[in-house]
């Protein structure tokens, strides 16, 4: 990851963060656009979750990681506190690998 990429991401993010505070007293975003923006966020996050769960590069990641994520997902649905979700997912995956399932 070269520094210019980090700088680009940081600068772009910062500009987007500044837009609201700088303009909120003058402009307001139409609710429909706000709604599309929140849907786009969900779409990106879920696409990212799916690919980072199931794939390593272009190939299937093996069973240990998806199983761990599944355990975390079930706990998340049951509204278990956030730290527990993360640790349970990692622990499940680690134990499966310890047992020889990659």
């Amino acid at each position: 990851m070269p520094f210019y990429a980090i700088a680009l991401l940081a600068a772009g993010t910062y500009v987007m963060r500044l837009v609201g505070p700088a303009m909120h007293s003058r402009v307001s975003i139409p609710p429909q656009i706000q709604r599309l923006a929140s849907l786009a966020t969900i779409a990106v996050l879920l696409a990212l979750a799916a690919t980072s769960t199931l794939l390593s590069g272009h190939a299937f990641a093996g069973w240990a990681r998806p199983t761990g994520v599944l355990v975390g997902g079930v706990l998340a649905i049951r509204r278990v506190p956030f730290p527990v979700v993360v640790i349970a997912a990692a622990l499940t995956t680690a134990l499966l690998r310890l047992g020889g399932i990659s």
Binding site: I6, Y14, R35, L39
Partner: protein, 238 residues
């Protein structure tokens, strides 16, 4: 900025909520540092990213693209799309970011899912300000310290896969998205996005499948527009 007086302005539940989120994000920060180092990148990379970008989802996404062999620019594009939600966030909490320019500038940098979520739960203007700054500053400190710790641990451990750390990030994402998934329409868009990304992954370079998945939002154009309250920050806080 007197952090102690900010804390005193807040009620007990909010303070507890912010503390819990700090613990959760510390775990995630450690895994970010360790995964990045475990993937073979230099220690300054996760540390600089966390200080300058300060947005966990985008950091994981950009690093994920690069570690999967994608180009750094594809990583940047994925991260920027994820971070576009800060535009509506900024309008939602713009009222608490008054004062001199340097204060507004600092406040914008600590505008993240969590600080916006905690701010939106308060109605009183003074408490909104206190919630935003207390959560933003605490998380900035905790997140960056955790990433440094993770980078050090990561260099010592070597194989982060044995610890299952590669499962931590997707689990974080699921936990983040879950509250929004109670809406049937959002679920449809989300599932379509996941399907698009998975179908595209074998043929497109890393990073692009996730960008392509934004097309699933087109499904929203056909559906009745009611259910979702606008600018609902994704909530980590429980």
């Amino acid at each position: 900025m007197d952090v102690r007086s900010l804390w005193r302005t807040l009620d007990r539940d909010t303070r507890r909520g912010i503390a819990l989120v700090c613990v959760a994000d510390a775990v995630v920060g450690v895994s970010f540092g360790a995964i990045t180092i475990g993937g073979g990148l230099a220690v300054w990379v996760p540390v600089a990213m966390s200080l300058l970008v300060f947005a966990g989802g985008a950091q994981f996404a950009a690093i994920g693209v690069v570690l999967a062999g994608g180009s750094p620019l594809a990583g940047v594009a994925t991260g920027l799309i994820l971070n576009a939600r800060h535009i509506p966030f900024g309008f939602a909490v713009g009222d608490v970011l008054g004062g001199p320019w340097w204060k507004r500038g600092l406040g914008a940098h600590v505008m993240i899912d969590e600080s916006v979520a905690f701010t939106q739960r308060q109605t009183d203007q003074r408490r909104r300000r206190a919630a935003f700054w207390a959560c933003g500053i605490s998380l900035f400190v905790v997140w960056n310290a955790a990433v440094v710790a993770g980078s050090i641990v990561g260099s010592a451990l070597g194989d982060t896969d044995a610890l299952g750390l590669d499962a931590a990030f997707p689990a974080v994402l699921l936990a983040l998205i879950m509250p929004a998934m109670s809406d049937a329409h959002t679920r449809l868009v989300g599932l379509a996005a996941a399907a698009i990304a998975l179908l595209a992954a074998p043929v497109l370079p890393a990073g692009f499948p996730v960008l392509l998945a934004v097309a699933s939002v087109a499904l929203a154009a056909r559906a009745p527009r009611t259910e979702i309250p606008p600018t609902q920050p994704l909530e980590k806080a429980r």
